[in-house]
């Protein structure tokens, strides 16, 4: 519509529905990211594609909205003393390497088994990672809620790793621990690889920081924002180099998500440690269910199973709806606990 550019890439026209949808998803995604360090992105890419945005533009624009959001969230949470910048930057650099590795793996699978195979791979990774890590985090959150310990992050694995003195030892002040860099690198690379595969590295990054490095969930989720910023900036530069970023979509999503990320960051100062794990695990498990419903489509395309066309459409739609539901449930838990804690604090201040 707008001259010669549309001959190259199809950028969509904006209407009221598109703008409202992107703004709202941006807001809810931002709220969740501000709180647990990542999230929202996994709904935005398919969401934008359902509006008619080409896949690459959707991925590029999503990436481009992610890093300013992470930046704003990280600054906000830095003010609350929750961010370990050193940890975040080191992890971010290695996560960037992980992203490149992840892209290579994706390419290899794409060459070998085609688009459907690649989609199946992404979905299987989704389900596997989210179910394993999600249920582990959920179990821990429930345990912490029942018997609140002083430092929730003191898992035996993390403690043992911290005692191993291997040459580049890092002293992390905010995280309040000392650990060899060699144990950060695998976590960071896994984060990057997951980010390249399912767009949300935080689902490995935050649990990795909590259980392997031994950071509290509040510092882990805040530091994940720094990692997301570094990864997002690197990714955006690459995508923008190929001219794939639709700045209008990015700005609309950002308009909503910055409201959300601020609120999410404020929320972390009110809740107890286990609440972050709880919200994260809930979202992860529901998203895993959603991806499970997406599997039939790809299995059908690969002729591994034969299902009717309507059944596939229904499961695909259900998959997207459940994904949105995951985000909505996460957001409502955050908002409910934020406002409940605020009310309690006000009452306590009045009674004091």
């Amino acid at each position: 519509m707008h001259g010669p550019i549309n001959e190259v890439i199809q950028f969509i026209d904006l209407n009221a529905y598109t703008i409202t949808f992107l703004f709202l998803v941006g807001f809810i995604g931002g709220l969740v990211s501000g709180f647990i360090g990542s999230g929202g992105a996994f709904v935005l890419t398919p969401g934008m594609m359902s509006l008619g945005v080409p896949g690459t533009v959707a991925v590029a624009s999503n990436m481009c909205h992610k890093f300013p959001k992470a930046l704003v969230g990280a600054i906000k949470r830095y003010k609350y003393g929750q961010v370990d910048i050193k940890l975040g930057l080191i992890m971010g650099v290695f996560a960037e390497i992980g992203v490149q590795v992840g892209i290579m793996v994706q390419k290899y699978i794409l060459d070998k088994w085609g688009q459907a195979g690649s989609n199946l791979y992404v979905s299987i990774i989704f389900v596997l990672v989210l179910v394993t890590v999600g249920s582990f985090v959920m179990r821990d959150a429930i345990k912490m809620k029942r018997a609140p310990t002083e430092a929730g992050a003191g898992t035996s694995l993390a403690k043992r790793l911290q005692q191993i003195e291997l040459w580049p030892m890092l002293t992390l002040k905010t995280a309040n621990l000392r650990i060899s860099m060699w144990f950060l690198v695998p976590v960071a690379i896994a984060t990057g690889m997951l980010a390249a595969t399912i767009a949300v590295g935080g689902f490995i990054g935050v649990p990795g920081l909590m259980y392997i490095v031994g950071v509290t969930s509040i510092v882990a989720s805040a530091t994940e924002l720094v990692i997301a910023f570094v990864m997002g900036l690197g990714g955006t530069l690459i995508w923008a180099y190929y001219g794939m970023v639709d700045i209008r979509l990015v700005m609309i999503i950002l308009a909503g998500s910055l409201f959300g990320v601020q609120l999410g960051a404020i929320g972390t100062t009110y809740v107890k440690d286990y609440m972050i794990k709880y919200v994260m695990a809930t979202i992860m498990l529901i998203v895993a269910v959603s991806r499970f419903f997406a599997l039939p489509k790809y299995l059908n395309e690969l002729h591994l199973v034969s299902m009717s066309e309507t059944a596939v459409t229904v499961t695909t739609k259900m998959s997207f709806a459940i994904m949105c539901l995951a985000l909505l449930i996460g957001a409502s838990i955050i908002l409910a606990s934020l406002f409940k804690a605020r009310r309690l604090e006000k009452m306590a201040a009045l009674n004091a």
Binding site: H2, G3, P4, I5, V8, I9, F11, C64, H65, F67, P68, K69, L71, V72, I75, K76, Y80, G81, Q82, K173, T174, N176, I218, L233, T236, L237, A240, Y241, Y242, G243, M244, V245, D246, I247, R248, V250, M251, L254, A255, L258, F259, V261, Q262, L263, A265, I266, T268, T269, Y270, A341, R342, E345, A349, A352
Partner: protein
């Protein structure tokens, strides 16, 4: 514990119930402790110390806030903030004292600490001793005070600038909420306007923007620079937007989270086994 002992002694409770005028009469006769601060918010450990001693000795308390820079050239902003902080601090002090049935009189003064103290000691009768808050040097006051002066030391006393200035992280529930709300509102309008301008500029020139921003190569810096601008303007706008609505971080939570860092430093710099407030005698 305190309530029980108070209940077992009928006299103070009767005094308390006998009404306001009786209190002020009694206050005139009673010896009192003068507590002096130059900060807007008096330190809580000083208040606690004064209230405890007042309770034990059955003394009244005269809390004095001295604005040492009344003509500071910022068009009265410092004075206004000081006055607001003083009100909050006085209210807190009164609440603390109420529990122990100690009478607190509050005064706001202007001028040099030494001269204010000397004037008050001569005009007010029966000031037995003076307790000074952090930020006041003993020498400033000792020469002009006719009664003993005690600083209250705790391990929580920090660096020099921390003792002189009220640190926002430690402001607790009694923040200077009225003034900061207004500032947030101003920020909200300023950055709101800037954000709107930026969005209007991009969306009004969609065609041009999309042509150049998607060219790739060096033009990749355009979208990246734009989103950085958005994150600055819109980020500040959203931040002050929630603050202006009164949705801010939990004060308790922030203080709690900042605490471990401070305690680590303290143990390294000056290990002090006993952290109770203590009195240093100079006279």
């Amino acid at each position: 514990m305190n309530n029980e002992t108070d209940a077992s002694r009928p006299n103070p409770q009767e005094d308390h119930l006998s009404g306001e005028p009786a209190l002020s009469d009694r206050q005139r006769e009673r010896p009192c402790i003068m507590v002096v601060t130059r900060n807007g918010h008096m330190s809580e450990h000083v208040m606690d110390y004064a209230v405890n001693v007042g309770h034990r000795l059955r003394y009244a308390i005269l809390a004095v806030h001295v604005d040492t820079l009344p003509f500071f050239r910022d068009r009265g902003r410092r004075s206004r903030l000081f006055a607001a902080a003083m009100q909050e601090s006085a209210a807190l002090f009164r609440r603390k004292a109420e529990g122990k049935e100690v009478v607190v009189e509050h005064l706001g003064e202007l001028g040099k600490i030494g001269s204010v103290v000397s004037r008050l000691c001569h005009s007010k009768k029966r000031i037995e001793f003076i307790v000074i808050d952090k930020g006041i040097r003993l020498e400033e006051i000792v020469r002009q005070a006719p009664v003993p002066v005690f600083p209250v030391l705790t391990s929580k006393q920090g660096l020099f600038n921390k003792t002189l200035f009220h640190h926002p992280k430690e402001k607790g529930v009694f923040a200077m909420s009225t003034t900061s709300r207004k500032r947030h509102l101003n920020h909200c309008f300023l950055f709101g306007a800037l954000t709107t301008g930026l969005y209007a500029a991009v969306f009004a020139n969609q065609d041009v923007v999309m042509t150049y921003f998607t060219k790739g190569g060096v033009f990749a810096l355009l979208p990246v620079a734009t989103v950085f601008a958005v994150s600055y303007f819109h980020g500040n706008f959203t931040s002050s937007f929630w603050s202006a609505l009164g949705i801010e971080a939990s004060k308790k939570g922030v203080a709690k989270r900042v605490e471990p860092e401070i305690t680590v430093k303290e143990t390294v710099v000056a290990p002090r086994p006993d952290t109770r407030p203590r009195v240093q005698v100079n006279a």
